[in-house]
Each structure stands twice: as structure tokens, then as C-alpha cells.
Subunit: 506 residues, 2 copies
């Protein structure tokens, strides 16, 4: 048996994927559990990543005419109840505010006081509270379309939480639009899905499949839910963004009406769409390896770390001067429209220093010592390659080519992820093969198995729920781009017109 | 009696200042009341203003080494209780979460269910929850200073609310830092006050006085609170940002300890500092007039609106082409480091269109009709001048000079506000004059009166509270820049070494 190579993260993905995820989040310094049940603390390295993701999304939203606004954190209980499916979908996970002050209780401790006449729900999503504003802002077709987005925190009380993937509080954006026609609202629903796919593929280097959710998987109250689905390295799917066509359901619930050019009155057609800090979980599980996370350059909190090598005191000053000049030269270059982000790590902690940055996934590490200065060179390592692979490079050439190297890393990450997804995607026909694909070989110690099954589905909720119950597998989406094709349902063998994507999922 | 000029806002500032404020907020399309008690909806025009303010602040924070992070919305009750003064200060205005789901009650309606074992407080401020993280992140002097900021919503349950000035939920940033020495923490407290003053004066064109709060006005739990105070047009003061030196109080409460280079263990010295959407209230009341708000160019959601004048159908196309080219040329120019923001308003609603933009306070309005095209000109109005004052200007010259005109508006706004403040600031000695200054002449219909009184104070809480009770006047700050000067307290005539600033306040 080959000697197992030492890795920075224990266990490895192969050994215990869920535990690898927890360890890699911790080691990467992105975030940590908070003492508040189910909530996370997003640390500076993770928050800067979120800032980069959200600014990129925000620019794309604005380019389509969307404007930002802000609505209350609290939703009166009666608002939430206005749409029956909606409240049903969220009732089990609502944080409820019932009091508005604290008072000394009988034993001297502070206890809740000032009971509210109506409880307030901490927003799990804002269709109903934003709908109330829309009903006041819209009176004529001239007020349409109304295109609004909000950056906010939301709370969905979760019993089993995992940082970034499922937390009681998370950060997100929620877009809400109102239109005069169903067609225009449907077009907007699709447009915003395309924005999410653009972000996922081009910024996060995370290939996604765009598709439609089955009725059972729709957002509570929606007519249609579109989704982007990505494959994680345990071959499970992650829903990374959704865009909902709400028909007139929420307009009716919130009385969003407008006068048409013909002076009739109609309910508006609305959409909503959201993406959250969950995408960071997707990024970790798409690119991370057994040494830590790997951050795609387009959204990296910093692009390059410079590691001065000082073995004797006489070297300290010349090395520091060389490094500072190099940092300044690099910061003058741009990558993807922004100045290159450079960190200089002067800590005197030996090899632990380089490993810190490997775990944090910075795209490029550069060591600079007296020998490099003599050669006017740098010593370069790329996070998308083995940690042992280091290359000497002319200093000026490196400064010039840094943007090219970053773009190459970005592209390599995407290609690697796409190849991984293709390797673990199968067109599967027939129940036996389908069941086998999703069944671990050793149920005692379930290994990573399965992937995306492109298979036929008859369209019945019976087959869908049977597959979910027996295999823990769901229809991730009915792909928008799939070719029509006749076939037989993998569950009941009845006729089907299109393959859908089945997978286990987060 | 001179005929009263018609104004866009009714009542005028002179007639009823508080009501003018409500009307001007509404007419400016910045924000509105929400159906949730005490909470506001920030509309796109207001939110974009907030984005500009917050990005400017964020850049300044980052330039001093501060990094952003994010901490939980909820604070366990026992955390809040760790600092006695702190919990005492906030207990009366806490939104309390007591349940985590909804269930059908006996009459079929949804009622709170799943009681929490410990109530959670929706953060009114985050010293205690961030302190918990700091206690884990800091173990050695090498971990210091720790410089963290959070952009977040906070909730302080208010009984009497006013949009932007005092709302139950508001948006803010809260910075939290930890240091190895008291001196370094005090220096940081002052540094962040300077950042706020820089933002207020240079971006918001709002002159401020930097000073120290008296003990009675300190942040609950702080050793020292620094503040910037601005004068509104009703001559009241607005506290626009505060920076607190917390000593070791919160470090002790949260057990934030570090090992010194000498291997002893000490509590860290911490600071916190915050500024909020309240600054928008300050901006409105500093620059607004009886026609609406006036937005300083540096933070304006847009700088210039182009108003095409189309009187006959044949003009429509050439005017549109001229306007679009003009918009593009202007957007290619920068002001204060950003592309000039240009709106084109094609609505066919006559004179109401120009008045909309006057009320919204956009710095420059430009009318373009067939005659202007013939002359290669534009017809220009500045929001800092009378709405009747319009100037024809060569089109190309306008494009070239737009940044200069914007900077002139910015400067004029600041100068006007500073002159207003100086006009209504007095050095007042002696009780009689002091009482007269702050007493309305007609108590039946209290007119705008008073201002900033620079007066001597003996330092006793007795005098301070007597002035507060009898006149509703507080010590806004003990100015940092004031000269030492011997004098007698305006209340008790005892000796004093420095004048302080007294005013009525928001």
C-alpha cells in the first residue's frame, strides 16, 4: 500500500466528506459556529468573499434596471398568512418576536415584558411585506415594471445546521418585481436565473444546470420555480440560486392592482429571486481539496500573498524593500476590472505561514528571499496545482503576467469542475440501473457514490416521492436546455418526453 | 404683507418644522412608514443615498486597516446581562424572540409555538456577541490590534418614531476593536471620530463639532464617548456618529484576555463606534428647503437629470438623440472618483416633472428642447439656487464643466450650513441670558429659537440635569478643540475651565 500523503485537512474528502467540510471551513478562516443556536459568525476572509460575490451580483442586477431598497426585518403574523401555501411552507421555521422589553422578574433576573398585541415574524423571506409596499406604489400600468432588490439577513429556524449551507440566519438578496403581463414576468424570472448562472459559472467557476423545479419542489406559493444546480465533490447537487414566477398569487394576497391602458383594473404579475451565502458553501465543495479551500480569482478576497524569506537579520531590510516594491507594482495591475489584491505576510512562524495561505485558498503564493532578489526573480506557487509545484519566474515578467496567470487559474478551476461533473453524470434508463447508481455498495460505511442521473420521469408525484423515499434522491430540475426525447420513466416505465436530472442533494 | 411664495412643501420650515420634515421625507421619495410599528421602508432613492454614504465610509474604514465581518442577529439574554450598565441601558427597548415556530391554535389561527429555553434579543448593538468571538480570536499580544466592522440592521424598540431619526429598526455600521494598551484604544476611538467628521463635512457637506460626551450622556458601559454634533435648521443638534472608548469593561464582561510579551495575562482595551441611517435625517435637515431635499453631489443617488422638452411630435426623435448623446458624454466624466450619474426623465407630465426632481434634491436639472439643439446648448438649473434661476450654457462647455459645477454646489452647501451654524451659535455667560436663549418668546406657539450655546459648565451632574429638566437642553459635547478658558457655570456660577456646547437635540 502506497504511503498516504500528509494533507492539511483531516479527514480527507474520501475518508469522511461531511467532516472534511466542517474542518475545511474552520481551517480556511471563512466562518465559525456562533454561541447562538444555528447562527454563524462570518470572519473577515469569508465576509470579503461575500462582498465580492454580492458586488458582482449587484452590478449585474443594476445593469438590468433593478434598484435596491430596504424593507422591515419584521413581518406581522397576519401578513404572512395572506398566502396560504406560503405560510404553510414557513410556519415550522419562524423566529417569533412576542415582547418589546425586558423587566426584572421575581428572582431578579431579566424576563421578557411588554407583550405585543400581534406577534412579529423575523422575515424568512419578504414577499408579503414587500407586496404591501408594492400595493401602494403601483396604481397604473405606467408604474410597471417595478424592479426592486433587497440585500438583507433572513431567519429560518433550522434544527440541523451546517455553516453556509443551512443556518438559522443567513445573508442573501431577494429580488421582487411586478409586471403588467404574465409573459413579461416570466421573461424576468428567466433573466434573473441567467444572472445567477452567469455569476456561478464566470465568477465562482462553478458549472451549473439551469432548469425548472417539479411542482413538489417549488417555492411555497409560486407558479413556477427556476433553479441552478451544481455538483459538489461528493456528487450531491447544490441548489445555488432560484428564480420564481409567482403568477398573480402574491398580487392577489397583497392586493397589488394596476389600471391598464384600457382603464380596466388587473392584478400585477410578480416574480421573486434569491441567492445567499449558501453559494459560499457551493464554492467550497466545488473547488476545495484535502489541503483547504481554493478560491476562484474572480471573487478571491485577495489574489496574491507575498511571503518574505528572512533567514538572517541582514536580509530583513533588503527583502522587505523588494517585497514592498513588488506589492506596489502588482497592486497597480488589474484583474477582472479591479486592482490586484496583494497580502504581505511578515509573520515569523516558519512553514506554518505558507500552509495558512494554502488552507485559505489564495490563488497565488510568492516566496521572496535574498537569492530571488539577486536573480530579480520570484518563487511562485499556484493554489490550483500541487503545493510542491513551485516555479522561479522573472520578477518583471511575473508583474506583467499576474493577470494572465489569475485568469488561467480561474479557467482551470472551471474546467476541472466541469470535467468532474461530466464524469459523474450518466444517462440512465431502467429502474435497476437507476437504483444501483444511487445505492452505496457498502451500506455499513457509505462511500461517495452516485452523481447526476439524466433519466426519464413520467411527471407523476407518486414516482417522484417513491424515489425520494427509497433512495433519498430528488428531481433537481427539468433542464431548460434538454432536447425532447421519448423514453420510459425510471420508476414506473410509463412514457416521458424529456430527461430530468436526479440526484441526492444538500 | 408680501404675497407668500408658493412652495413645493407644505407646511414650510418656518410654519411647522416637524411636520415639514415628515412632508419633505415623503415628497423626496427617500423613505416611508411601514405597516410594522416604528419600522421604515427605505425606497430606492433613499437606499442609493445610503449605499453611497456607506461605501464612502467603508473605504475610509478599510484605509485604516479595519476588516468587515458579520455576527449573529440574535443575542442570548445572558450575554446582554454580562455588562450591568449596558443591559440597563437597552432593557427598555429590546425586541425579544421567545418562540421558533407557528402552530394552529384552538381557533385555527396560527400562534407562536416551540418556546425557546432562553429568550433571544434582536441586537440593539453587538458589543456582547462580538466580544464572545473576540475572546476566542485573541490569545496573544500578536493577535492585537483586532479591527473589525459590521454592516447590519439593529433594533431598538422606540415608542415615538420619526423616519431616519428614530426608528425601531435602522441600518448602521458598528466597528469593534481590541488593543493591547489603553493609549492605543483611545487613539483608535479618536481616529474613527475623525473618519465620521470627514464623512460628515466632506461628503455630506454637514459641518460638525467634535467633542466628548458628559458622563450622563455616555454609551451604556463606555468609559468615554466621543461624538460629532451638527446643527439642524431648527437650530437643534443632531448627534451624527459616536465613537466609544470602552476601557476594559467589555473585555472583562466577555473575558477578552491576551498574553503580553512578558507572559503576563491582561484584559484587552476595546472600542466601538457607529453611524447609521440617521445621518440621512441630518442631511435632510441640514440642506433641505421649502421645495424639498437638497442632496450634496458627493453622495447624490444621481447628479444630473436630463429633461427632454418635446412640444410637437416631429421634435421627439432629434431631442431624444441629442439627450442620449449628452447623457453618454456626461457619464464618461467623473466627479469625486466616480462616473457622473445621469437620469433621463422622458415622462410626459408637464411641469410636474421638474418639480419631482426639485423635491428629490438632484444637484443639476437640465432642460433640452429644439431651440437648445439649434444653439448646441443646454438650459441649466442648480438645486442650491432658486428654482427660477436657469441658465443657458454651451453644450460642450457644460459637459466639460459638469464636475466643476458639482464641486461648486458641494462647497456652497457646506458654506451655507456653516454660516447658518455660526449665525445661531453664541458664547453665552450668565444664567439669565442662557435661560432666555433657550426659551421661546411665545410658549403658546413655540417658534424656532435657540441654537448652540457655548457656555461654561462646572462639571456637576446636578447642573446638567437641572438645565435638562427646565429647558430641555443638554450638553451636546465638550469640544475637543476648545481653548481652556476660566469662567462661571451658567447654572451655579461655580468655576469652570472650558466652555461646552449646549443645545436642544434630536
Amino acid at each position: 500500500m502506497a504511503k498516504k500523503e500528509k494533507t492539511a485537512i483531516t479527514p480527507t474528502r474520501e475518508e469522511d466528506y461531511p467532516e472534511w467540510y466542517q474542518q475545511v471551513v474552520k481551517a480556511s478562516d471563512l466562518a465559525e459556529r456562533s454561541p447562538v443556536r444555528g447562527c454563524m459568525v462570518i470572519k473577515p476572509w469569508g465576509y470579503t468573499l461575500w462582498e465580492n460575490i454580492s458586488r458582482s451580483l449587484d452590478d449585474m442586477f443594476k445593469a438590468t434596471g433593478v434598484k435596491n431598497a430596504y424593507f422591515p426585518l419584521f413581518i406581522p403574523l397576519n401578513f404572512l398568512q395572506r398566502e396560504a401555501d406560503h405560510v404553510e411552507g414557513f410556519a415550522k421555521e419562524c423566529a417569533v418576536v412576542t415582547h418589546h422589553r425586558l423587566e426584572k422578574g421575581p428572582d431578579g433576573d431579566l424576563v421578557p415584558a411588554g407583550p405585543l398585541t400581534e406577534p412579529l415574524i423575523v422575515r424568512p423571506t419578504s414577499e408579503t411585506i414587500i407586496g404591501e409596499s408594492f400595493s401602494k406604489w403601483i396604481s397604473s400600468y405606467r408604474d410597471l415594471p417595478l424592479l426592486i432588490n433587497q440585500w438583507a439577513n433572513v431567519v429560518r429556524w433550522e434544527m440541523r445546521t451546517r455553516i453556509f449551507l443551512r443556518t438559522s440566519e443567513f445573508l442573501w438578496q431577494e429580488g421582487h418585481t411586478a409586471h403588467a403581463t404574465a409573459a413579461e414576468a416570466e421573461q424576468r424570472t428567466r433573466m434573473m436565473l441567467d444572472v445567477y448562472a452567469d455569476l456561478a459559472e464566470n465568477d465562482l467557476a462553478m458549472p451549473v444546470i439551469k432548469g425548472r423545479k417539479s411542482a413538489a419542489e417549488r417555492f411555497p406559493g409560486a407558479v413556477d420555480t427556476l433553479t441552478i444546480e451544481a455538483m459538489m465533490q461528493d456528487r450531491k447537487a447544490l441548489q445555488a440560486g432560484t428564480s420564481h414566477f409567482l403568477g398573480q398569487n402574491f398580487a392577489r394576497a397583497s392586493q397589488i392592482r394596476f389600471q391598464t391602458p384600457e382603464a380596466t383594473e388587473e392584478f400585477a404579475w410578480t416574480t421573486s429571486w434569491g441567492a445567499s451565502t449558501r453559494m459560499i458553501g457551493g464554492l467550497i465543495m466545488t473547488h476545495g481539496d484535502d489541503d483547504g479551500i481554493v478560491v476562484p480569482p474572480k471573487v478571491a478576497p485577495a489574489h496574491i500573498v507575498l511571503l518574505p524569506i528572512v533567514r538572517k537579520e541582514a536580509d530583513r531590510e533588503p527583502v522587505a524593500a523588494y517585497v514592498e516594491a513588488l506589492a506596489a507594482a502588482l497592486r497597480d495591475r488589474t484583474y477582472a476590472g479591479k486592482a490586484i489584491g496583494v497580502e504581505v505576510d511578515n509573520r515569523d512562524i516558519g512553514g506554518a505561514r505558507g500552509w495558512d495561505w494554502i488552507r485559505k485558498g489564495i490563488p497565488i503564493r510568492v516566496e521572496v528571499g535574498p537569492r530571488d532578489i539577486a536573480n530579480q526573480a520570484v518563487f511562485l506557487a499556484r493554489r490550483d496545482k500541487s503545493h510542491r509545484e513551485k516555479t522561479a519566474m522573472d520578477r518583471n515578467r511575473f508583474v506583467d503576467e499576474a493577470p494572465v496567470i489569475l485568469e488561467d487559474i480561474q479557467r482551470q478551476l472551471y474546467e476541472k469542475a466541469r470535467t468532474f461533473r461530466e464524469t459523474h453524470s450518466r444517462r440512465i434508463d431502467g429502474k435497476k440501473d437507476f437504483w444501483a447508481f444511487f445505492t452505496p455498495k457498502n451500506p455499513e460505511a457509505p462511500e461517495i457514490h452516485g452523481g447526476f442521473a439524466w433519466s426519464h420521469w413520467c411527471g407523476s408525484e407518486d414516482c417522484e416521492s417513491r424515489i425520494k423515499e427509497e433512495l433519498g434522491v430528488t428531481i433537481r430540475c427539468i433542464p431548460l436546455a434538454a432536447e425532447p426525447e421519448k423514453g420510459g420513466c425510471v420508476c414506473c416505465a410509463q412514457t416521458s418526453d424529456q430527461r430530468v436530472v436526479f440526484a441526492k442533494a444538500y
